[in-house]
Structures are given as structure tokens and as C-alpha cells.
């Protein structure tokens, strides 16, 4: 299987660089079936949504700068928290991870392209309409969905047509994710170069293989949940209405059966990226490769049996509480194994601290902190105090922002020379790390205190005793937001005028993508490499 040639190249007998007949301009991007083009589009789409969702976050922080209502009214505030969550999860983080997968998986396993090139095109081009639905819902009568990204009924039953826009957007993005996952699984299982056994694959491919299975398992569940919402809203069903024999809490069970694996869908590719960066800049192979693979698999399997820890205050039976608490605590073990393995990889290495490594270490440090607060949240009696407070907000931003987003930044700085054939300004990239690191903590660390002291999340206004920390967090958030413009500048400057990058800019890099020139030719590995 792995020697199947690229169909265009086979038909037209073209060299690795030539592809003169393909459409140019906008049509190139609309019709492309090239994994690198599609990866690029995914990444720019992700960045665009990151900026849109970021502006919403800054609106939230502007309103929360001081007690009292100053900037927006409560309905719009709720729309902002809802859309910020949906856009960051479905628009920024998930497509970002797929962008990395598109670019790197074929190059890392020595495949010429993704297995289903046209489906790849379609799974990307489903995303812009979904994004337009989400953002456009702000302008429909009644405003955008305002019931939180978790969409709990009965509140979502009350909402206006913005909610329907959201439901359709979720359907479309889910379809896109499922197609992307099928593609990734097929590519990894069938298109590996000769000699590239599964247990020789770079860890990034492993994390994505497992993530793709998670996506296929849970995206249909989410689609089912929001479809039931839709029929409850418009077609007289009462799945979530006690008066008709339904149960509002049923939605929470179904949603979190999707929602908890979703957390790992977002973090596992980040684990993969970090597992590529740390060995490279430690100049040492990854420590405990096999146990890293097993740990990812263990996390993925456990993620299916812990969902009700998001519902610890709904009034679960005692046995349920105990089961979900114990199961959740168990996740600390494989996660700990990963952290220890990364540290052991660095141990007695020959470390250098280029921007990718800085972000990887930042990831390691802050993600672990987020892991600890996750353990605190897993203890049900403590969760009773901090569930739905700013403590939880702090916890998941440590995992999603300092975790996944930092890994994406690190991955971008790691692979950008391969993508565009040019180096970026290393000093600016390091500045980007330090500013992000400091402002991230200024923003989110105080939220632990706010949550412990009793500030609920998703409120547009708060009592006086929360004023100091909110002001600190708001200042930090604006610093963090504006720092990301620097990232944009660094990337654009590198693409336009960066110094030419060598095929392997990193001394310690060992994976297959560094064996092809920089920038990577339009088609790579049309003749599969042989992996020893």
C-alpha cells in the first residue's frame, strides 16, 4: 500500500516540484487536494478563529475589569462567553491540530499525501461555513447562543435562532472532524513507508492516531445530543423536559460523554508535538517511547469513563460519585508517566533553548500545574466548592492555553522553516514566548484565588471582594492578547523575508521530514523512503 504513487504525478509524470497545470490564485486553494496546502489552510483558519475568539475573551475581560456593568449588557456578555468557548475549541484548537496533522503526518511516515485527498479538501472547506454560522449568529434576532459552550437545556430551549445556527455549526464541524479522522487513521495505517512499523512512528503520529479514534467515537455522540436539542426546540420532543418524561440532566451525560474525550482530543496532539520538540533540543531520543504510547492509549481509554466528574453537583448517587472520582484520579497516573518521561528525556541531555524548546518547557511546567488543579477538581468534596467557579476557568485554561496553544506555538516555530523554507527572527520568537508566559500567568493564576474565594464563572459582574484579582487578570489578558500580534508579525516576516532555511535547521532532529529540502517540495516521498 505504501508505494501507491500520487495520482496527479502518476497521471502527468511530473517531478517533485513541478505542478504547472494546477489552478492558480484563489482556485488553487479551493480545489487543492495537496496535504500541505490543506494543512496551511487549516493553520491559517485556526489562527483567524484564535484572533476572533481572542477578541471575545478581551470583551469579557474588559467587562470584568471592574465591578458594575460598563462595557456590554449581560445577554451579550453571555454570548461572548459561549462563542469564545465554541470558537476556541472547535474553530481554533481542533483545526489547528488537524493542520499540524495534515502537514506532518505524511512527511513523518514517508507517505506522498493523505489517503483521501479529495475528502481532505472537503473536510477543510466545511469549516468556513461553520465559522460563518457561529459568528453570524451574533447578528440574528435574539442574538447568538448565550447558554454557554456546554449548551445545557432547558436554557438552550429558551434561546432564539442563534442557538439553531450554533447547532448546525456543531453538526458541520463534527462532520469535518470525522472525515479528517478517517483520513488520518487510513493514512497512518496504510501509507507508512517500508520499514516504518507502528512502534517506530514519531510520537506525534501516535498521538494523532489515538486522537482520531477518539474523534470518531465521540463526535457522533455530540451530534446526537445537539440534534435532540434541536427537536426539543422545534419539533415537540421532550428528551430534556421532565414535564414530557425527559430529563435535563440526560443532556449533560450525553454532552460530557463527548466532552471529556474532547479534552484529550485537544491535548493529545499537543503531547505529540512536545514529544517531537523535547528530544530534538535535548539531542537525545525520547525516553520511554513505548510507555509514552501506552500512556496515551491509557488516557484515551480512561477518558470514556470519567465524564460525570463534570456533573459532581447535579446530585449523582453516592456510588456514582465515588466511581467517577476514583476513575478520574487514575488519569493522573498515565499523565504523570508522560511528564516523567519528558523530564527523563531532558535529563543528561545537551539542552539548547530555541523558541520551540522554550514553548515545550513552558508547556511542561504550566500543563503540569493545570494537571494538579485537575486532580484537586477530581476530589468531589472539593469540586463541590469550586465547580462552576473561576478555579475551573483557571484549570482548563492552564490545560488548553498553556497546554495545547503553547504546544502549537512551539510546533509552529519548530516546523515553520520546513513549511516555508525560511527562518524566523529567533530573538522575537523568544520574546513572544516570554511575554506569553508572563501574561498568561498574570491572567490565569489569580483566577485560582477568585474561584476558591467564591466567584462563580459566566457572570458579567461580581462582588467587591473579587475586584483586585479581576483587575489583575484583565490587565494580563490584554497583554496576552496583544502579544499574539507579535506571533503574527514573526510568521509573516519569516514567510516574506526570512533567511533561507537549511533542510535540517535543528541539530538534534531525527524524523523523516528533515530529510527533504526546506521548503518541503509540493510533493514529497512519491517514492517511499526505506526506514531502517
Amino acid at each position: 500500500m505504501s508505494s501507491i504513487p500520487h495520482d496527479h504525478a502518476a497521471a502527468h509524470g511530473e517531478g517533485p516540484d513541478g505542478h504547472a497545470h494546477h489552478p492558480t490564485g484563489i482556485m488553487r486553494w479551493i480545489t487543492t487536494t495537496n496535504h500541505k496546502d490543506i494543512g496551511t489552510m487549516y493553520l491559517w483558519f485556526s489562527f483567524t478563529m484564535f484572533i476572533v475568539g481572542g477578541c471575545m475573551a478581551l470583551t469579557i475581560r474588559a467587562e470584568l475589569f471592574q465591578p458594575g456593568l460598563q462595557v456590554v449588557n449581560p445577554e451579550f456578555f453571555n454570548s461572548m462567553t459561549t462563542l469564545h468557548g465554541l470558537i476556541m475549541v472547535f474553530g481554533a484548537l481542533m483545526p489547528g491540530a488537524v493542520g499540524f496533522a495534515n502537514w506532518m503526518i505524511p512527511m513523518q511516515i514517508g507517505a506522498p499525501d493523505m489517503a483521501f485527498a479529495r475528502m481532505n479538501n472537503w473536510s477543510f472547506w466545511l469549516l468556513p461555513p461553520a465559522a460563518i454560522l457561529l459568528v453570524g449568529s451574533l447578528f440574528v434576532p435574539g442574538g447568538a447562543a448565550a447558554a454557554g459552550w456546554t449548551m445545557y437545556p432547558p436554557l438552550t430551549i429558551q434561546a432564539g435562532m442563534g442557538m439553531d445556527f450554533t447547532i448546525f455549526a456543531v453538526h458541520i464541524m463534527g462532520a469535518s472532524s470525522i472525515m479528517g479522522s478517517i483520513n488520518i487513521i487510513t493514512t497512518i495505517l496504510n501509507l507508512r513507508a517500508p520499514g516504518m512499523t507502528l512502534m517506530k512512528m514519531p510520537l506525534f503520529c501516535w498521538t494523532w492516531l489515538i486522537t482520531a479514534y477518539l474523534l470518531i467515537a465521540v463526535m457522533p455522540v455530540l451530534a446526537g445530543a445537539v440534534t435532540m436539542l434541536l427537536t426539543d426546540r422545534h419539533f415537540g420532543t421532550t428528551f430534556f423536559n421532565a414535564a414530557g418524561g425527559g430529563d435535563p440532566v440526560l443532556f449533560q451525560h450525553v454532552f460530557w460523554f463527548f466532552g471529556h474525550p474532547e479534552v484529550y482530543i485537544i491535548i493529545l496532539p499537543a503531547f505529540g508535538i512536545v514529544s517531537e520538540i523535547i528530544p530534538t533540543f535535548s539531542r537525545k531520543p525520547l525516553f520511554g517511547y513505548a510507555s509514552m504510547v501506552y500512556a496515551v492509549a491509557a488516557i484515551a481509554i480512561l477518558s470514556f469513563i470519567v465524564w460525570a466528574h463534570h456533573m459532581f453537583t447535579t446530585g449523582l448517587p453516592t456510588a456514582g460519585i465515588l466511581f467517577y472520582m476514583y476513575a478520574t484520579m487514575l488519569i493522573a497516573i498515565p499523565t504523570g508517566v508522560k511528564v516523567f518521561n519528558w523530564l527523563a528525556t531532558m535529563w543528561k541531555g545537551s539542552l539548547t533553548f530555541e523558541a520551540p524548546m522554550l514553548f515545550a518547557i513552558g508547556f511542561l511546567f504550566l500543563f503540569t500545574l493545570g494537571g494538579f488543579t485537575g486532580l484537586v477538581c477530581a476530589i468531589q468534596p472539593i469540586d463541590v466548592q469550586i465547580q462552576d467557579t473561576y478555579y475551573v476557568v483557571a484549570h482548563f485554561h492552564y490545560v488548553m492555553v498553556a497546554g495545547t496553544l503553547f504546544a502549537f506555538f512551539g510546533g509552529t516555530y519548530y516546523w515553520l522553516p520546513k513549511w516555508c523554507g525560511r527562518m524566523y527572527d529567533a530573538k522575537l520568537a523568544e520574546a513572544h514566548f516570554w511575554l506569553s508566559f508572563v501574561f498568561f500567568n498574570v491572567t490565569f493564576f489569580p483566577m485560582h484565588f477568585l474561584g476558591l474565594a467564591g466567584m462563580p464563572r459566566r457572570v458579567p459582574d461580581y462582588a467587591q471582594q473579587f475586584a483586585d484579582w479581576n483587575m489583575v487578570a484583565s490587565i494580563g489578558s490584554f497583554g496576552f492578547g496583544f502579544t499574539q500580534l507579535l506571533f503574527f508579525y514573526i510568521v509573516v516576516k519569516a514567510i516574506r523575508s526570512g533567511a533561507k532555511a537549511p533542510a535540517k535547521p535543528w541539530e538534534g532532529a531525527t524524523t523523516l521530514e528533515w530529510t527533504v529540502p526546506s521548503p518541503a517540495p509540493y510533493h514529497t516521498f512519491e517514492t517511499p523512503p526505506f526506514v531502517k
Partner: protein, 383 residues
Amino acid sequence: MVRTKASVRAGSRLLQTIIAVALLGPGAALAAPEWNLQPPVTPIARQIIDLHSFIFWVCVVIFVGVFGVMFYSIFKHRKSVGHVAVQFHENTTVEVIWTVIPFLILLFMAFPATRTILAMKDTSAPDMTVKVTGYQWKWNYDYLQEGFGFYSTLSTPAAQIENREPKGEHYLLEVDNPLVVPVDTKVRVLVTAGDVIHSWWVPAFGVKQDAIPGFVRDTWFKADKVGTYRGQCAELCGKEHGFMPVVVEVVSKDDYAKWLTAQKAKAAAAGDDPGRVWEQKDLIARGEKVFAGNCAACHQLTGKGVPPAFPALDGSKVVNGPKAVQIRTVLNGVERDGKPTAMVSWKALSDTDIAAVVTYTRNSWGNKTGETVQPSEIKVARQ
């Protein structure tokens, strides 16, 4: 652990203060920023704070250990100091060690947590029971054994929220009618909701229970210190979610007995003679108060509502049409396609209150029906 609780708590406050000072600098003008869980006044809340301190310290120790190793490596094993990489990449023994040790640590955490969970779920043998119902956006407290109940609504004036007046000490954490309970009494709380999901939360009690429409959940607390304790709704419930505080006054048993007597007398007095025929202006005056307390959150004091979610009453077809229709709407709520809407049933209000508020809305803003609705008509409509 038992004997060290106090010192652990003191230690964790000290550490947190040090972190805070380091973060913000000594000159920062901080009144009294809050760091930690609120001071507990129930056995459960005390167990929770001890559990949190215990786990916090375990995490701190692990964190320092693990990242001590990382920073040692960062400083000693860097290329710039000439360190050459040692090419090891596997060791089954250490993998087993760092799988088993965390497991043992988790066992030590799970044990006290399990004990607390069993205690929290034990709602048996209460001394009294209160039913709490969440509505958009207020709480209703029903003293089931005493046969009375009341609504509890935010009492912070809009002027403070809109920054036209300085904010008071208990800004957003004050209500017109707090829940009143006696000290040292096991209070079982039945929690439900009338419209969407809310969550009844009092941090000092260590109690947070989602209020789910159509289902009754229970929890309990036994406060051992007289005082006023403040919490908030903890589940997003719509636009005024941030404005539905929970306030509980824990009073001495004597004071509670007095309060109970006064409440019963008040309830009897307020249970106006439903046969009384009212003057229109008296009903309008009373209706204005009822409206402000119950209806204005959605329909607004201006009667303009927030369309399309909350329709305007000013100029509304229902309010200006036959009064029977409006009375039915207030009594039964509005269903659309067989499902309840934000307009819930207001049956819990007295006949006089409903008569007053209907009369008020039919003769306010641009509505000029001139009609008066008497309590007796409500009584008939109820049947």
C-alpha cells in the same frame, strides 16, 4: 492529619500570602484580597477545606520535586556549559516506580475524600427541612413544616450596578428576604427549579446543589456559628445569572423561634381576605410592588421587555385583551409547542397579589384598559 489541621491551614495561608506579595509587590493597594476557600461554619465545609489544604500541600511537594529536577537539568545539562548528551532512552524499573508511587499517593487522597463524600450524602434524620426552588432570577424558600414560604430577590439597587451610585459593602450579595435557619440544627435542603437549571451554593456551608426543573435533589448543612452567609447561583441560568445571590442568616434557636412566630403572623396578615373588594388605586399601588419583585427582571420596569425572549407588556395584546386570558397566562404560564417557556406559572403568588399585578399592568405605561381585577376573580380562575 487531625492534629495538624490548624497548622496546615495557617501554613497554607502564609504561603499564599507570600506568593501574593511576591506577585504584586508590597506597595500594591490591596484591601484584603481573598485567597482561599471561605471560612467554614459547618463540619462538611471544614472537612473540605482540610482536604483541600492536604491535597494542595501534596501537590506543592510533588511540583517542587519534579520541577526541581527539571531546573537542575536545565542549568546543568545545557549545551552552553558543554554538557554532552548521554544516549539512554529506556528503563523499565523507573517506569514501574513512577507508575506505582503516584498510585499510592492517590490512595492516600482517595481515603479522606471518600469519608467526606459519605458524610455529605447522609441527609437522614434532619431537624428541619426547607425546600429551595430556583427561578429566573430569584430563589423561593418554602418552610415545609411551617406552611409558609417567600421569594428571595437581589436587593442591590440598579443604580449601583449601573455605576450611578457607589457600591455598598455587600454589592450583589444582598437580598430582600434571606433564608433564616437556627444554629446547630441539621437542615435538609430540597432543591429544585421552576424553569431552567440553577445551582444553590453557600460556600461557608460547603453546599452546592444544582436545582433541576422537574426533579428534587437534596443536601444538608448544620451551621454551628450565628451569622450571615452569602453565596450565589452557580449554574448559568440566563441573563441575570450573576444577579441571584443566596443569603442565609443563621440565628440562635431563640431568635429563630421569634422569627418563626413573626413570619407566621405576617403570613396570616398577608393572607388577605380574598373576598375583599379593592379600590383600583390601592391595587395598582400594590401591583407595582409585586411587578417590581417578580416580573420586572424579564418584562422590565418600563414594560418594554427584552424581545424576543421576554415580550413587552406595554401595548401587549394579552394585557390589553380580555382579562380572563391574562389571568390564565399569569396563573398557568405560557407553553409553546407543548413546552414551558420563560413565562412560568405564578400560582404561588396570593390571589390578591395576582389581582394587583394584573390590574397594575392593565393600567400602566401605554395600557389604558381602566379595568380592575379583584382577588375573587383570581380565586374563581384558579378552579
